[in-house]
Amino acid sequence: MRYTRPWQRYFKLGMTALPSARGLLPLIVLLGAWQLLQTGNSPYFPPPSDWWNGLMLLSRSGRLYPALMATTITLLLGLILAVAVGTGVGLFIGVFPRLGRAIGPLLEFLRAIPPPAIVPVAILFMGYDERMKLTVVVLAAIWPILLNTSSAAERVHPLLLDVARSFRLSAVERMRLIILPSVVPAILLGIRVALPIAIVVTLLVEILTSIEGIGALMIGAQRNFQSPQVYGLLVLIGLFGLFVNNIFAVFEAILLRRWPPKTQSENF
């Protein structure tokens, strides 16, 4: 085997999941055509080269990096908190199904509230600060994780629970050795669903309130009619989302290497 170091194996594992690079052609053609066709200084459709300049301007003025940091940190912290609380509550609900059934409709009702709608509520309750921003992200990201965890915990195969009983495992051991490992794929799926929601909500808060972050930069640029910056930041957000998703996909693949593969519905 040519790949001897673990990281090399994981890299190879990750790469096989990527689609053919030739698929980037439409994007490249689009950007290329845009660049060539926009020679005049159109305020509405500046060419991609201007976007780069706009970003450089932002970066040199020292505003890009802190904004990027702010958004990233909020996302990270928010997700960690959402995972911690969501997994905990989810496991609790899943392990006590009668409780789950009782709280069920209430949770369904809360879940039906679209995450963006939570933002104005949070602003009203908590004002315009970082704490509010973090709270909203947690509240938005928690649902997929909580629901996935609780449903998976409820669905732990009864045979496995019988195994736990026949080995006379204590409640804690049963949780640690049987339930938790069974639930890990569902938790990861929940995180994967929560990621885009968290990104959207973070950006939304920043755009609405101009609290420090990429979204704030973006709306600021729009208000100042700095269209190259707006497009540049859009690309930046796109790359950021892509990066985050792929990092997570690799992380998930590595973490789940020991689990039996599940049929994935979106795998071409």
Partner: protein
């Protein structure tokens, strides 16, 4: 359908309903008695009153209409485009090879990030909402349509050939119906997404409709009206979803059965 009274009663989630009612009542009581003194937390009754106030003043209906128009236009455009492209990509492996990576790059783009772009191009108008709505709604429709077409069993192609169907007939009479369950799934996801995006666009972009209502009442420090708007949005979401399901059942009677198995 035979549903005896005993069966119906047994099927209702009594503990769940009880919890809902209890929470509602407790919330109401807590606010009225002054136990919960959050300045901005209205009692459920206040929210209901707020709803009737909005409806009475003739504000609610136009807002609902505006948001619905935005949703319908955006969703229709995205669905038409998504099904067409999804079909093409589903049928041609070459087309997939030369476009999937681009789709994967564009897919994670959060819809809200398009709002400043929309504002830049169109200012405060419905078109801004379109900019926010169309692209993100396109993806689930496209991806699900593509999956539906790809998933058509090889055997069905064999049947098409043994019955000597031409290309056009194969697409219309075999591939399209076979892919329908997944196409419908994609369209449904898209519809829910279109609603959320329209609301978001109205919050940060175009000051009209339900989304703007939420933000406006938040800034006006009228939490009862703000929650009234939020409840309305949720309700519309439920109605749209149910409507879509009913339409799917009407057009495609086997939909439910065929959705699960493949």
């Amino acid at each position: 359908m035979n549903m005896n009274k005993g069966g119906l009663i047994a099927r209702i989630n009594w503990p769940g309903a009880a919890v809902l009612v209890f929470v509602g009542l407790a919330w109401e009581a807590a606010v009225r008695s002054g136990l919960l003194e959050y300045e901005y937390l209205p009692a459920p009754s206040a929210i209901a009153l707020g709803l009737s106030e909005l409806a009475g003043e003739g504000i609610l209906a136009p807002d609902i209409t505006h948001t619905l128009i935005s949703v319908v236009i955006g969703w229709t455009a995205a669905t038409v485009l998504g099904i067409s492209l999804g079909f093409l990509l589903g049928l041609s492996a070459t087309a997939r090879r030369y476009s999937l990576a681009s789709i994967e790059v564009l897919r994670p783009m959060p819809g809200v990030a398009f709002a400043p772009v929309g504002l830049l191009l169109f200012g405060f108008s419905l078109k801004t909402e379109m900019v926010v709505t169309i692209l993100p709604v396109l993806w689930p429709v496209l991806v699900n349509t593509m999956a539906g077409v790809i998933g058509v069993h090889q055997r069905l192609y064999d049947v098409g050939r043994t019955f000597r169907l031409g290309r056009r007939d194969t697409i219309l009479r075999i591939i399209l119906p076979a892919a329908m369950p997944l196409i419908i799934v994609g369209a449904r996801i898209g519809l829910g997404l279109a609603l959320i995006l329209a609301v978001v666009a109205e919050m940060v972009g175009n000051p009209e409709g339900l989304g703007y209502g939420i933000v406006r009442e938040q800034q006006a420090l009228r939490p009862d009206l703000m929650f009234a708007y939020i409840v309305t949005v949720g309700f519309i979401g439920i109605v749209l979803n149910a409507g879509m399901l009913a339409l799917a059942e009407a057009l495609f009677p086997s939909f439910r059965q065929l959705q699960g198995g493949r």
